[in-house]
Every structure is written in structure tokens, then in C-alpha cells.
């Protein structure tokens, strides 16, 4: 019973967004009336949405690239470093972004990068770095979980005893074994980056506003337009997150979210 109630609560808003995006008119009625696709065409031809869509896509892809380049060695190093407090540092890394609200980090950026010394506020690269910082802990955590789960340390010891060098072990054993985890982590990082609002909204410039920021402005338009603009973002998130959890790693990590 509680499950069914919960699923209704979970899925009803999603269903209504889809219905609303195809409805011609929806004012003070239970459900929208008429069927049309023209809201989608309107969103697609809106120049600010077009620009925002490509900014978001670029930021997400760049974020993914940097996160994997930094996150993989970091997770591997943390797990293999036989550090006394590895457990502690892993947990710290996981909790840091939750304890410090994105808005406060963004405010820090505003103070730092509106200065004359570093006038980078509003640049796309700062946006990317902000996204990298907020998604990196998630990636590292996913990888560390799977390094343990898949017994990578022992596989590597085996390769080591068989004569493989560090480079050979990394390329023949570590990367292939973790490929599903990396992929799954990347899709989730992509989903998080595309939906990110709290940080971007404060540090993006007018010309590189991301999709969610532009979307917020559209809430004051006709409901059909707002619905279809929202559905675009919704579909991107769902696809990325299904691809992410669909990659068969067997572990469900805890995800970072962006409220």
C-alpha cells in the first residue's frame, strides 16, 4: 500500500509533465485539453533555449571528461595508498558537498572571481570546474565502492606476481575491470551536470546560462511551453541515469543530488 502511494507521488508529476507538454490548453482543468506538438517546436526554435541546450551539453561533456581523468587516479590512489585513515577520507569526501551547500560555494566563487586579479566569473570554464568539483566526490565514491566490490586489489596482486609492471597492470587489469563502473559513473555525472541549477544559477554569465536556468524563466509562460521545455530536461536526466544504473556493476551507490 505504502509502495503504491509512494509510486503515485513519484510518478504523477512526471506523467503530468508529459501530458501537459502535448496539451493545447490547460487552465483550471483537471487535465489538459487538445493534442499538439507545437510547444516542442516552439521550444526548439527559441534562441535562448537553443543556446542553453548546447551550453549545458558542452558543460556536461567537459565535466565528464575531466571527472574521469582526475577521479580514476584519485579513487585508485586512495584505495591502494594503504593510508591509515582511508576510510575516514573517503567518508569526508562523500560528506563534504552535502555539508557545504552549493550556494555557499557559488558565493565563494563570486567573491573570488569577480576580483580584478581573477576576473573569471561568468566564463564557461569556471562553470565546468564548478560542476567537476560538485560531481567528483560522487565519481570517486562509485569507483572506490567497485574497486572493493570487484576485489581489484587481489587481481592486481595476481598480475603483479605474474610479472606485470605498474603500467601493464593499470592498462590490462584496472581499466578493463572498472570499465562498467567508469561508464556508469560518467552517465550519472552527466545527468547531475545537466540538471545542476543551484551553483550554475549564481556563477553563469548571461550568454552561457545553462538549460535549467533558462527553464526557470519559462515557468511564467504558457503551461504547455513550460511543460515541453521541462520534459526535454527530464528525458535527458532519465536517459542518462538509466544508462548509468543500467551499466551492470551490481552496486547501487548513494547519489549526490542537486535540489
Amino acid at each position: 500500500m505504502i509502495l503504491i502511494l509512494y509510486l503515485v507521488y513519484l510518478l504523477l508529476p512526471i506523467a503530468l509533465l508529459f501530458l501537459g507538454s502535448f496539451g493545447e490548453k490547460w487552465t483550471n482543468t483537471l487535465l489538459p485539453q487538445g493534442f499538439t506538438l507545437h510547444w516542442y517546436l516552439e521550444v526548439a526554435s527559441d534562441p535562448s533555449f537553443q543556446r542553453a541546450f548546447f551550453v549545458s551539453l558542452f558543460v556536461a561533456i567537459a565535466t565528464c571528461g575531466i571527472v574521469v581523468l582526475i577521479g580514476l587516479p584519485m579513487a585508485y590512489g586512495m584505495e591502494r595508498g594503504t593510508l591509515k585513515r582511508t576510510q575516514f577520507f573517503t567518508r569526508l569526501l562523500q560528506l563534504m558537498p552535502i555539508a557545504a551547500p552549493p550556494m555557499v560555494v557559488a558565493f565563494g566563487y563570486i567573491i573570488l572571481f569577480s576580483s580584478d586579479a581573477f576576473p573569471y566569473l561568468g566564463t564557461t570554464w569556471l562553470l565546468v570546474i564548478g560542476h567537476v568539483v560538485s560531481t567528483l566526490p560522487y565519481m570517486v565514491q562509485t569507483l572506490i565502492g567497485d574497486i572493493r566490490h570487484l576485489g581489484l586489489v587481489q587481481l592486481e596482486q595476481a598480475a603483479d606476481s605474474l610479472g606485470a609492471s605498474f603500467r601493464q597492470r593499470f592498462l590490462h587489469v584496472v581499466v578493463p575491470t572498472l570499465r562498467h563502473s567508469i561508464l556508469s559513473g560518467l552517465f550519472t555525472v552527466g545527468a547531475l551536470s545537466i540538471g545542476e541549477f543551484q551553483l550554475s544559477n549564481l556563477i553563469a554569465g548571461f550568454l552561457n546560462r545553462t538549460y535549467p536556468i533558462v527553464l526557470l524563466q519559462s515557468f511564467y509562460n504558457a503551461s504547455g511551453f513550460a511543460c515541453s521545455a521541462t520534459v526535454v530536461l527530464l528525458i535527458l536526466s532519465i536517459v542518462a541515469s538509466l544508462l548509468g544504473t543500467g551499466a551492470p556493476t551490481g552496486t547501487f551507490g548513494e547519489r549526490k543530488n542537486v535540489l
Binding site: P13, I14, I98, F107, Q198, L216, S237
Partner: protein
């Protein structure tokens, strides 16, 4: 022949350097800058100024009410959902996990508009309720209050609670409940005297986690209410986005947000690790 550099503990740790530097420079350092700004700039009286501002107290109260009710409701719902999921087949459970995990990657904007459509002034649910005699205006006034807004926050928080509690509940040996039952304990007693005490660390840390998330978030609230609602994150948002903004005061507010989040999280962690050690 010496060992290769990367096989030494120091070598492994050096692999973490790029990540550590990035997080240091673009996460820790900005937070320090905020801290320094709040204490030093603007004559150093920024904390005194926010303490004299009645808006701060209203915002703090609103935030506490919103975060507390949101986390409490999420905790109860999440616990019951996780408890129910333990009994499902692992196949069905995995499908459900997939569905439940969806909101975690949703943009705050998606959820905000979904809620406007469902519970807003002319929302689906609001209109349904009006058929049974609930005044839509009164209902939407409730929905846009701190307590009502917690209903929207639950959308993200319940999945977090479920993901934190489900593994613990799956590991719980249900034979202990059967044993209690054989001694004559009823369902309620079993839950409150056997199950909950044992998983209390997980419950407390899940609560602290969702409380901190709720306390520092502003996206959904902004999309739903503009800056009308009296909560600290929105107060800070309007201070930051105002032209000619008062940085020291905004920094002081940030420090309050940051410390509440950090304190609550650390309290949760401390409690959980303390209990773990006591049981060792």
C-alpha cells in the same frame, strides 16, 4: 632493482594529488574566502548586523521548520518503504530501486514544475481535492508554506533515506524478530524494541544527511515561491543577487548555513561511529 615508484604507498597517494588540489582550490578555498569575508570585511560587525535583522530570525525559523518537517516525513516514509522493499523479490526490488533513484539526478527545476502541475493553485491534485470540498486557495497557501514545501523536498529526500536504510535492513537478521515474536512480542514491540534500536545509527545518520541537504538547498524553493518564502537560503540568495549587494552580511549568512550543515552532519557521523564502536 628498486620498486617502481607507483607501487609505493607514497606513489599511490601522489595519484590523488590532482583531485586533492582541485578540491582544495575550488571547494575548500572558496569556502575559506567566504569565512574570511564574513569576519574581516565590512568592519567585522557583519554577524552583529544579521543578529539585529528580524528577517534573519524569521528565515532561520522557517528553515528549521522546513528542514525538520521535510526530513522527519522523509525518514518515516523512507523507513516504511525500505521495510516493505525488504520483503520483495530481488528482481522487483531492483526495478523499484531504479525508479526511486530517478529523482536523485533530476534537476530541481523539473521537480518544481512537476509540483506546480500537481499541487499548485490549479494543479491536478488541488482540483481533485476541490471536488471533495477542500478550498483550493487554502490548500495552495498550505503547499507554499514551509511545512507544505517540505512535501516537495520529500521528493528528493525519500530516495536518499531509502538508499541509506535499505542495505542496513537487508542485512538485518529477521530471525531476531521471529525470536522476539516467539517470546510473545507483538509487531509494534518488535519494531520499537528490537529493530529500531539496532539500526538506530543508520536512522540517525540518514536523518542528519537529509536535514543538511534540506537546510542548504534553495533551487526548488526559488522556483516554487520566488523569494517570498522566509527561509535562510532564499534570504542569502536575494542578498547575493541584489545589485550592490552587501558581501559581508551575505558571507555571514553563508557561514551560518555552512556551520549548521557541518554541525548536523558531524553529529550524525559521530553518533553512528560511536554506536558502532560501542557494539564492537
Amino acid at each position: 632493482m628498486r620498486k617502481s615508484f607507483f607501487s609505493t604507498p607514497g606513489g599511490y597517494i601522489s595519484l590523488t594529488l590532482p583531485g586533492v588540489l582541485l578540491l582544495g582550490g575550488f571547494f575548500i578555498f572558496p569556502l575559506l574566502v567566504v569565512l574570511v569575508t564574513s569576519f574581516i570585511e565590512g568592519g567585522g560587525d557583519s554577524f552583529v548586523r544579521i543578529l539585529q535583522d528580524p528577517l534573519f530570525y524569521r528565515g532561520l525559523w522557517g528553515s528549521l521548520v522546513l528542514s525538520f518537517s521535510a526530513s522527519f516525513v522523509s525518514l518515516v516514509c523512507g523507513f516504511l518503504i525500505a521495510l516493505r522493499m525488504v520483503k520483495l523479490s530481488s528482481r522487483l526490488r531492483n526495478i523499484l530501486m531504479l525508479l526511486i533513484s530517478l529523482p536523485l539526478t533530476f534537476s530541481g527545476m523539473v521537480v518544481a514544475y512537476g509540483f506546480i502541475l500537481t499541487f499548485g493553485r490549479a494543479g491536478f491534485f488541488t482540483i481533485l481535492l476541490s471536488y471533495v470540498g477542500v478550498d483550493p486557495v487554502a490548500f495552495s497557501r498550505f503547499i507554499y508554506s514551509p511545512v507544505g514545501l517540505s512535501f516537495a523536498y520529500c521528493y528528493y529526500l525519500i530516495p536518499r533515506v531509502v538508499f541509506n536504510l535499505l542495505p542496513v535492513l537487508l542485512n538485518f537478521d529477521t530471525r531476531k524478530l521471529l525470536a522476539a515474536e516467539s517470546f510473545g512480542a507483538g509487531r509494534i514491540r518488535q519494531m520499537f524494541e528490537i529493530l529500531i534500536p539496532e539500526i538506530l545509527p543508520a536512522i540517525v545518520s540518514a536523518f542528519c544527511l537529509v536535514f543538511s541537504v534540506a537546510f542548504g538547498a534553495y533551487g526548488t524553493a526559488l522556483a516554487l515561491t520566488g523569494t517570498q518564502l522566509n527561509i535562510l537560503p532564499l534570504l542569502l540568495y536575494s542578498k547575493i543577487s541584489d545589485a550592490g549587494s552587501d558581501f559581508p552580511v551575505a558571507a555571514a549568512l553563508s557561514v551560518v548555513l555552512l556551520s549548521v550543515g557541518t554541525l548536523v552532519m558531524s553529529a550524525g557521523e559521530l553518533f553512528a561511529s560511536h554506536r558502532k564502536e560501542a557494539h564492537r
